[in-house]
């Protein structure tokens, strides 16, 4: 080493320099940060600012994916595009037809509700968001959305794709938002069995292709193949969104209850664009404590046409 003697002694004692005391100080600091973040959410302002700073990083990190996408688009065969166009047109027609019927049902629903003098019907609002092409920790079921509070995204909004419920927004910065997927082990969705009307709660398992309905009483009317939809309780997920299908039922560890395995309808592993949905006239302020009083009524009836 060409360093002068004084620094070489510090180099010799570098091990001592990274002494236990400094380690403890840093660990304590990290602990304090974690507690502040986890318990109080005191650091949301810091996160918000960091979101701005991190934006270019996300952009750079997503560049390879974007380039591949652009290349594919420019190389895509004409006939392929024509075929895709035809398919999309067909699908659009079918969907429009279904939508027309749904709107009729919704109007009828609203009228009936007025007749019953019941709760005010809730309008379902949607907004298209993209998933930023950035991988967060693969062992956490989070995705980064490419829009944030500047575009009106709020914490607590539900996310769906073409097939069903995907998750909910948990954290918003001005330019980005983080969503938790329904497969996250700490996530739960209030659900209803379409066939029998049994209500339960679907928990994530940490696996992308599996959810769990724990603690069902053995007498509960749940069968393999049953379709599940969101029940609308809890106020975050509007009622009637498809959630998944029961694939197996078995006794749980205690043998006192029954546990059902559910295959999610949404493609959780990869989908480029998602829809944010929320009920407008319902209380506007974040995740509500009390469930809005909507007795067994679906403002959007995905299952309306599935009923015999």
């Amino acid at each position: 080493m060409t360093l002068p003697g004084s620094t070489s002694t510090t180099a010799l004692f570098a091990e001592g320099g990274a002494g236990t005391l400094r380690l403890l100080v840093y660990l304590a600091l990290a602990l304090v940060l974690m507690v502040l973040d986890h318990r109080g959410g005191y650091l949301s302002e810091v996160r918000r600012l960091a979101g701005f700073a991190a934006e270019p990083l996300y952009w750079v990190a997503a560049t390879p994916g974007r380039l591949v996408g652009a290349a594919r688009k420019s190389v895509a065969d004409r006939s392929e595009l024509t075929a895709q166009n035809a398919e999309l047109r067909e699908r659009l027609m079918v969907t429009t037809a279904q939508l027309g019927r749904l709107q009729a049902v919704q109007r009828e629903n609203q009228r009936l509700r007025q007749l019953l003098d019941g709760a005010e019907a809730q309008r379902l609002d949607v907004q298209l968001v993209g998933i930023a092409d950035v991988d967060l920790d693969p062992f956490r079921h989070r995705v980064l959305l490419d829009q944030g509070s500047l575009r009106g995204i709020r914490s607590g909004q539900a996310l769906i794709d073409a097939n069903g419920v995907v998750g909910q927004v948990i954290d918003v910065t001005p330019l980005n938002a983080t969503a938790m997927l329904i497969s996250d082990p700490s996530h739960a969705v209030p659900v209803r069995v379409v066939r029998s009307g049994v209500r339960s709660i679907a928990f994530g398992t940490g696996r992308v292709d599996q959810l769990r309905l724990p603690n069902l009483p053995p007498s509960a009317d749940v069968q393999v193949g049953d379709e599940l939809v969101t029940s609308g309780f809890g106020g975050i997920f509007p009622a009637g969104l498809a959630l998944g299908k029961v694939v197996s039922i078995g006794p749980d560890d205690t043998n006192l209850f029954v546990e059902a395995e559910v295959e999610p309808a949404a493609r959780l592993d990869r989908s480029g664009e998602l829809l944010l949905v929320w009920n407008t006239p319902a209380d506007e302020s974040g995740p509500p404590e009390a469930p809005p009083a909507t007795p067994e009524a679906e403002p959007v009836g995905k299952n309306a046409e599935e009923r015999p």
Binding site: A14, G17, A30, S186
Partner: protein
């Protein structure tokens, strides 16, 4: 002095690259294989230039990573601090290991890091991760010799050139 500054720039660049590599999208099946790039890069600098990189840099890098990855603030900071501390403790020995042996040491360190991460998750109340959680350290250890040679080459070139 300029040599010092060039090294500093390389340090920053390598950390930035490590952050980007951690964020860049890969197919879902490859995701569990993604090594802990930040730890690997930090490991190099801790071994080779401890006068520039210490616990403080490890901690700050961790906090930045937490903010960017959206993890609990302090999680990566704690993991990297512990990682750096162990490396600094055994630096005198680690430095003179042959590369393969170093890779083994890195494997152990990365496993230890996974355990720390598991503890933090446990305290927060997250679920037990799947078995593929444990693959990444092995990948990291395999990458270590190449990363070491690459960074060493870059650093030595920088050291030679600015004169």
């Amino acid at each position: 002095m300029s040599r010092q500054r060039a090294s500093g720039r390389l340090l920053l660049l390598s950390l930035l690259a490590a952050l980007l590599f951690s964020l860049a999208p890969v197919p879902a099946s490859l995701q569990p294989l993604r090594p802990f790039w930040l730890a690997l890069v930090l490991c190099y600098w801790l071994l080779e230039a401890p006068e520039m990189v210490g616990l403080g840099i490890a901690f700050i890098t961790g906090v930045v990573a937490d903010l960017i990855f959206g993890s609990l603030i302090g999680e990566h900071a704690m993991r990297l601090t512990i990682f750096a501390f162990i490396i600094l403790r055994f630096r005198a020995r680690l430095r003179f290991f042959p590369l393969t042996q170093q890779a083994l040491a890195v494997l152990v360190l990365l496993f230890n890091d996974r355990v720390v991460s598991l503890m933090i998750r446990g305290v927060i109340g997250e679920a037990w991760p799947p078995a593929s959680f444990w693959i990444a350290p092995v990948v990291g250890a395999f990458l270590w010799p190449w990363l070491f040679l690459l960074l060493d080459d870059l650093r030595l070139k920088l050291r030679g050139s600015p004169g």
